[in-house]
Symmetry: C2
Subunit: 364 residues, 2 copies
DNA sequence: GTGAAAGCGCTAACAG
DNA sequence: CTGTTAGCGCTTTCAC
C-alpha cells in the first residue's frame, strides 16, 4: 500500500469527508492518533490514562491531537483489555411496587446518579418489574465484563438475588439492612432506634393510644421500625394494643386504607412508617371530619419534600436519602478500586424534624 | 507444557478449586467451553448466539456444558467483536428539577426499563444534576462502544445535547416534542389538542373565568398546552385574560404558589399543566376556604395514580406515560437493529378522564 | 521515557 | 455443518 500513493491519498480524502459528516467524527482509533502525533499507540494510551511516564512536550502534543480530533477511546475495547468497565449497576427489586409512588426511590436514584457522574462511572438501572424479570436478573447483572460492581436495594426477607450476588463475589453494596446476610457491606439508618425516638416523642407529648402504620412485613425496614415502636411503648410501661398496629405498603393509598382500619380503635396519635403513608392516613382522618393534630397526631418517616407541603406540616424522622446514594457509591467504588475486603456497615444519622402534625406546639 | 502432565493436573485442580469458590465460577471462556464440549470456539459461539448452522446433537451437547458450567459470554469482548453493546442510554435533563417530585419521570423510566428487560438490553441512566454534568454529558453518552442508542427526554428549548446527538448519528429517540429539530424520531402526545379538549370541557360546563397554570416556559410541553388553552378560549369567542395565565414549574409547590398568584383574579376554573401542579393548586384553594369544584373547578394533565387520591378526585387528561417508555424503546431498537433511517414521529392518544374536580356531575 | 508485541474474549468471514 | 483465521481497539508487560 505504501507503493500506491494515489490510494493513500484517496484514503485521506475519505477520512476527511467522513470527519465532516457526522457519525464518524470520532471513529478514530488509538492507532490513528498515534500516527498523527508521531508516537506509538502505547504513548497515546499513556496520556489518555494519565500515566506519569510521558515527556511533557509529548504529552501536550498528543493531547492537542486528541482535542482537535475529538478522539474518544472505545469503551468496549478498553473494558476488555483492562478488565474494568467503569460501570455500576443499581438493582431495584420487584416488591418495590412503590417505585413510582414513593419519592424515596427516585431520590435515592438521584443521589446515586450524581455520585456516578462525579466519579465518571456509568450507571445501569435494573428495575425488576415482573416475576420473569426476577428470574432472569441474576445472569443479567452478573454477566462478566459488564459491571464493576452493584448496588442492590435489598431489605427483603429471603432475597435470593442478594445471596447469589454475595456468592458471586462481585463488589456489592446493599442499600437497607439485609435480612439474613452477615457478610455484606450495607448502608442504612438505625430504623429501630429512629422509630423509638419518634414514638417516644409522641409519648412525651402525652398521647395515650398511639398506633402505627407499618410497611410490608417482608422488609426489614418495616420490622425494624415496628420494633422501635414497640420498644418505646414498653419502655414506658405501656401495653401493646394489636389493633393499633396496621399494615400499609409504603404507598399513599396503603396509608389511607390502613388508617381506615385503625380508626375504629380510636388512636389519638399515629407513627407512620413513611411520609407517603402518613399523607394517606391523614387524608383518611380528614375525610371522617377529624382534625390533625387536634384529634389524631402524626409522625412520619423520611422527610421527603412532600412532608412540608400539606396543611399540618408533617413531623417526621428525617433520613438522608440522597446521601445514601452518594455514600453507597463511594463505598462501592472503594471496594472496586482498592479491593477493600471486610464488609463495611454504614449507619447514617437520622433526625426528628418537629413540625405541626404531632401537635408539639399546642401541647407545650 | 504438554510435556508436563503434573503441571496440567495442577491447573485442573486449581480450576475446580476456584469453581467451588465463588467469584470465578464462571470465569470460563468460549475456548474452555469448546474444549469441554469437544468442538471449536466458533461452534460454541454459534450456539450461544442461536445461529442455525449447528447440528442438533452438537447444539445439545454444547448447551449442556454451558448450563453445567454457568458460562456467560464476556460482555465487553462480545461488544468489541460485534460492535454492538446491547445497551441503551436514557438521558434526563437538568431542568427536570421535578424528577423526584413529579411521578411522571419514575413512571416513564419504569416503562423504559420494562421494555429493556423484555428485549434483553441493558439500560444506562444519565441524570443530569449539575451544570458540570451538563457539560460533560455529551462525551459520556456518545462514547464509542458504550451505547447502541439513546433515549433523550428533550423538549427544552435550545437543547444542545439533542443537536449534538443528532449530528453524531447515533440511533436516537426523543421523548417529547423537540423544539427546533425536524430530523429526529420522537414520541409525544398532541399536547395542544389535548389541552384544547380539556379547556373546552370546562367551557362547556359553563365556567366563565378559566385560568391556566403552565409549566416552565422553556419546554415545548408547556407552550403547547398553553396554546391549546388559548385556542379553546378563542374558538368560543372568549377574551384572553393574561392575569389568569400563571407559570408553575411542574412541582406541587409550583402549583401552589402559582394558584396563590391567580386567586386574586377570581378564576372559577383552572386547567393545570400537570396533575402534580393541580394538586398544589387545589391545596392553595382549600387553604383560603374555597371549595373544589364548587368555587373553583380543576382539570389536570397526566392521570398519574395520585390523581385519583385526593378528596375531589381529579378530572384530568390521561397520557400513557408508561407506554411512552415501552414505545420509545421499540422505536429505538428498530432503528438499532434494522437501521430504519427516516425519522419517525409517534403521537400517542390521550383521553379526558372525567372525575369530580371539574364539577361535571353537579353541572348536569 | 518510549515502542514492540502479546493478548483481553469474542464474532465473522472464509474454506472446507 | 464445522473449524481456521483474522481481527475488534485498547492495555500492559517487557525491552531498549
Amino acid at each position: 500500500m505504501g507503493a500506491l500513493p494515489g490510494f493513500g491519498w484517496r484514503i485521506g480524502y475519505l477520512v476527511w469527508f467522513l470527519l465532516d459528516w457526522g457519525r464518524l467524527v470520532s471513529d478514530l482509533t488509538l492507532e490513528d492518533i498515534a500516527k498523527k502525533a508521531g508516537v506509538s499507540r502505547s504513548t497515546v494510551s499513556r496520556v489518555v490514562n494519565d500515566h506519569p511516564n510521558v515527556r511533557e512536550d509529548v504529552r501536550e502534543r498528543v493531547k492537542e491531537v486528541i482535542q482537535s480530533t475529538g478522539y474518544q477511546p472505545h469503551a468496549a475495547a478498553r473494558s476488555l483489555a483492562s478488565q474494568h468497565s467503569w460501570m455500576v449497576g443499581l438493582v431495584l427489586p420487584r416488591n418495590v411496587s412503590s417505585f413510582f409512588t414513593d419519592p424515596y426511590f427516585p431520590r435515592l436514584t438521584q443521589g446515586i446518579a450524581q455520585a456516578c457522574n462525579q466519579h465518571n462511572y456509568t450507571l445501569s438501572l435494573f428495575l425488576i418489574g415482573t416475576k420473569e424479570d426476577e428470574e432472569k436478573i441474576y445472569p443479567r447483572v452478573s454477566r462478566k465484563g459488564l459491571l464493576d460492581g452493584v448496588l442492590l436495594q435489598s431489605d427483603q426477607i429471603g432475597d435470593q438475588l442478594a445471596d447469589q450476588l454475595i456468592r458471586s463475589n462481585i463488589p456489592l453494596v446493599i442499600i437497607g439492612r439485609p435480612f439474613s446476610n452477615k457478610n455484606v457491606s450495607y448502608i442504612d439508618v438505625d430504623n429501630t432506634n429512629s422509630a423509638f425516638i419518634a414514638v417516644s416523642h409522641l409519648i412525651r407529648l402525652g398521647y395515650k393510644r398511639i398506633g402505627t402504620i407499618t410497611g410490608v412485613p417482608t422488609r426489614t425496614v418495616s420490622l425494624d421500625r415496628q420494633e422501635g415502636y414497640i420498644k418505646a411503648l414498653i419502655e414506658r410501661g405501656r401495653d401493646i394494643d394489636e389493633s393499633l398496629i396496621v399494615e400499609g405498603d409504603f404507598t399513599e393509598a396503603g396509608g389511607y386504607y390502613a388508617m381506615q382500619r385503625m380508626l375504629p380503635h380510636k388512636p389519638d396519635a399515629v407513627f407512620a412508617g413513611s411520609d407517603t403513608m402518613a399523607l394517606g392516613a391523614m387524608r383518611a382522618v380528614r375525610e371522617t371530619g377529624l382534625r390533625v393534630p387536634e384529634d389524631i397526631a402524626f409522625v412520619g418517616f423520611d422527610d421527603l419534600p412532600l412532608a412540608t407541603l400539606p396543611e399540618p406540616r408533617l413531623t417526621t424522622m428525617r433520613q438522608p436519602v440522597y446521601q445514601f446514594g452518594i455514600k453507597a457509591v463511594e463505598i462501592l467504588l472503594d471496594v472496586i478500586e482498592n479491593g477493600i475486603t471486610p464488609p463495611r456497615r454504614v449507619i447514617m444519622e437520622t433526625e426528628l424534624i418537629i413540625r405541626d402534625s404531632c401537635g408539639a406546639s399546642r401541647r407545650r
